[in-house]
């Protein structure tokens, strides 16, 4: 009997993390969920087992504790086929403007940690000669905006890391996917004014990630409309852009 494929979700307790885990489990993958609070993830693991009759296991992971990364990867029972980083922190822009500690946490949670851990997996995957890496970045990284440039700049760094990694890793049989979800109705965006037609539900993102992995897509804007919106935003001249309020 051939063993099943495995997917490891970093940031498993987020809404998108849960949705991605469900999408992969539904497609027959065994799933690992990694997060800070392992006990809080147990019901999600039970959910995957009950729904899809797959294996689901839990791993403690803190994206800010970069010193633990080597040990985290070494302690995994097996190297997964797919690793997905959903970790991120929106934070509060206004606070980040004056509170350096908060700004640092946003930057580290969205850029430093996710990049380092995926870089580490990339080394292992390249040594094996196979594997897929998925980073959930953001349309906010396509251009810094007055209203959230601390978060956006960290996502921009992450997107750049992923595209460089993709260029290098593809030669070694390793595929890298960048996902830019746009507005997603999750606990992160709760209470925010989202533009209806540009907003998707978390399961749509989960399915899009699975599809991108299976079809070897490189950069995914979950709602196609975002590609156009961001193209326009990216090409606005700086003189115009800085006058816009958003």
């Amino acid at each position: 009997m051939t063993s099943r494929k495995t997917a490891l979700v970093l940031g498993g307790s987020s809404d998108i993390g849960r949705a991605a885990a469900r999408a992969f489990a539904k497609a027959g993958y065994d799933v690992g969920l990694a997060g800070r609070d392992v006990a809080a993830l147990e019901p999600d693991a039970a959910d995957l087992r009950a729904r899809y009759n797959v294996e689901a296991n839990l791993h403690k992971f803190d994206v800010l504790d970069t010193a633990s990364f080597d040990g985290f990867v070494a302690a995994l029972p097996a190297l997964p086929d797919v690793v997905i980083s959903i970790v991120g922190l929106l934070g509060v822009q206004q606070n980040a403007e004056s509170d350096l500690a908060h700004a640092t946490t946003i930057m580290r949670s969205n850029y430093e940690g996710p990049s380092l851990i995926l870089g580490l997996f990339a080394e292992k995957f390249l040594a094996r000669g196979a594997g897929t890496i998925v980073g959930v970045s953001s349309v906010a990284g396509d251009r810094g905006r007055a209203s959230n440039y601390v978060y956006g700049s960290a996502k921009a760094g992450f997107s750049a890391f992923l595209s460089g990694l993709r260029a290098r890793a593809s030669r070694g049989g390793v595929h890298v996917v960048t996902v830019k979800p746009g507005f997603v109705r999750t606990k992160m965006t709760e209470g925010m004014k989202l533009i209806g037609p540009l907003t998707v539900e978390a399961p749509v993102v989960g399915d899009a990630i699975l599809q991108a992995v299976e079809k070897k897509t490189e950069v995914v804007y979950v709602s196609g409309k975002w590609r156009l919106v961001m193209l326009i935003i990216k090409t606005l001249p700086e003189a115009v852009f800085k006058k816009l309020k958003f």
Binding site: K26, P43, A46, D47, A50, R51, Y52, K187, E190
Partner: protein, 441 residues
């Protein structure tokens, strides 16, 4: 405060809306005047807290599933759509489904929803074995037929008023396929329709769609849909045992002007629908469970068809012995008015299980009306006929009945309220509906 309404978009009222992320946070969210909300498919004000509305759809995890018995433990926010998509292909479906699959398990328990099989298999609550309930006193208790059984039977059909349902254990129905063998019968008037439903008592599923624009000799002309779960060998060669359920790909993007629905368009629609159905009548054929059970789910946000001011559903049940005369009278008044819905549904119900469950042995009629003109007075008149016949209205659809109508229809209310009181503290659990209909003032 946020403006909130039910599926009928009437009334629209203020309530504080919270979506807690853990059971502990649910407890913390409860203040005096709170009620749980599932997916908001109740038409009126049942799922709106007097002060605070606690959204439960985030609780959508399956705790455990036993494929040998079909027993499942799940969180209250799991939607039937999700259950069907996940466990259908594994050979299990809910025993009871209402006319839309976008309802939560918590909402289905709280309304003790009925499906097309109520006449022979009972309501949603019959397949629920136990419930984890967060009461208004701040305790979390397990209730079942054996344990805290008063609270259990008050929670089935209790419209969320005994507390917040966190989890439930229930049984799923083993099925060979996700297809239904359907038989359509056309009935030329109300007598024929009722006879056809009576004759369909042995069928697992039965329901009649009535042309409520038809008058005079045609009054009550209907199409009766009977259904059975299809076995594998009834499927066409090569057909998948389980059909694919599509998400709605049609949506009503804006509120249509209320002009769109008028006596002419409704008449024309009904005429066409009846003729097309009558042509299919007689034979039997196999259809996917999705259009069979959930014909309206194909169009998202269809409630906008009725315009900005919203609409009302009037669903009554009339005890068997009085049904023919009263239903005839109601249908006649509706047909004379001319602006009735294109959705009129007649079906038979059996005995309900919960203390406040809507079903009783008889016939239930559901009609939609746009909110306009003298509709409230008109429905009050219909209510008088219902009360005189010993009938009642369905709370999950109600937005406007009077206290007197409600009290006459639900004689077990004092018992329900006594149980509710024993679980509650300082009016913690109260909805706009309970305030309107039966909380002490």
């Amino acid at each position: 405060m946020t403006l909130v309404s039910g599926w009928g978009r009437f009334p629209v009222v203020d309530s504080d809306v919270l979506r807690p992320r853990s059971f502990a946070a649910v407890g913390d969210a409860v203040v005096a005047g709170s009620v749980a909300r599932g997916n908001g498919r109740a038409y009126g004000d049942a799922a709106i807290g007097a002060v605070r509305t606690i959204g439960m759809t985030g609780f959508d995890r399956i705790r455990s599933f036993d494929p040998a018995t079909g027993r499942i433990r799940l969180e209250a926010g799991v939607q039937l759509a999700d259950l069907i998509d996940t466990f259908g292909p594994r050979g299990f479906l809910p025993f009871v489904v209402p006319g839309t699959r976008f309802v939560s398990v918590g909402g289905a328990i709280a309304a003790d929803v009925h499906g097309k099989n109520h006449h022979c298999e009972g309501g949603f609550g019959r397949y629920v074995d136990s419930i984890l309930l967060r009461t208004g006193q701040g305790q979390t208790i397990e209730v079942s037929r054996e344990q805290n059984s008063d609270a259990f039977f008050a929670t089935i059909g209790g419209m969320g008023l005994t507390g917040i349902i966190l989890e439930a254990t229930m049984r799923l129905r083993p099925v060979e396929t996700g297809w239904i063998r359907e038989r359509v019968i056309s009935a030329s008037d109300l007598d024929a329709a009722m006879r056809a439903l009576d004759a369909g008592d042995a069928a697992t599923y039965s329901v009649a769609w009535i042309d409520c624009a038809a008058r005079g000799r045609d009054l009550g002309r209907s199409l009766i849909y009977l259904g059975e779960h299809a076995s594998r060998d009834e499927l066409a060669e090569g057909a998948a045992a389980f059909p694919v359920g599509k998400n709605p790909n049609l949506a009503v993007p804006v509120d249509l002007p209320s002009m769109t629905l008028n006596r002419f368009s409704i008449r024309a629609f009904n005429e066409l629908y009846y003729r097309m159905g009558a042509r299919r009548a007689g034979g039997s054929h196999v259809v996917s469970l999705y259009p069979y059970f959930f014909p309206l789910d194909a169009i998202a946000d269809w409630n906008r068809i009725y315009g900005k001011r919203g609409f009302l559903q009037h669903q009554c049940v009339i005890p068997e012995r009085n049904a023919r005369a009263v239903l005839g009278e109601i249908l006649d008044r509706v047909a004379r008015r001319g602006d009735a819905s294109f959705l009129a549904v007649l079906k038979k119900l059996g005995q309900g299980d919960g203390i406040l469950s809507f079903p009783l042995p008889g016939y239930t009629l559901a009609l939609d009306f746009p909110v306009k003109g003298d509709i409230l007075n008109f429905l009050d008149e219909i209510d008088r006929l219902v009360v005189a016949a010993g009938g009642r209205l369905y709370l999950a659809k109600d937005a406007r009945q009077s206290r007197a109508t409600f009290e006459a229809g639900y004689p077990a209310l004092p018992r329900f309220n006594a149980i509710r009181k024993s679980l509650d503290l300082n009016g913690a659990i109260r909805s706009k509906l309970s305030q309107r209909l039966f909380d002490e003032v």
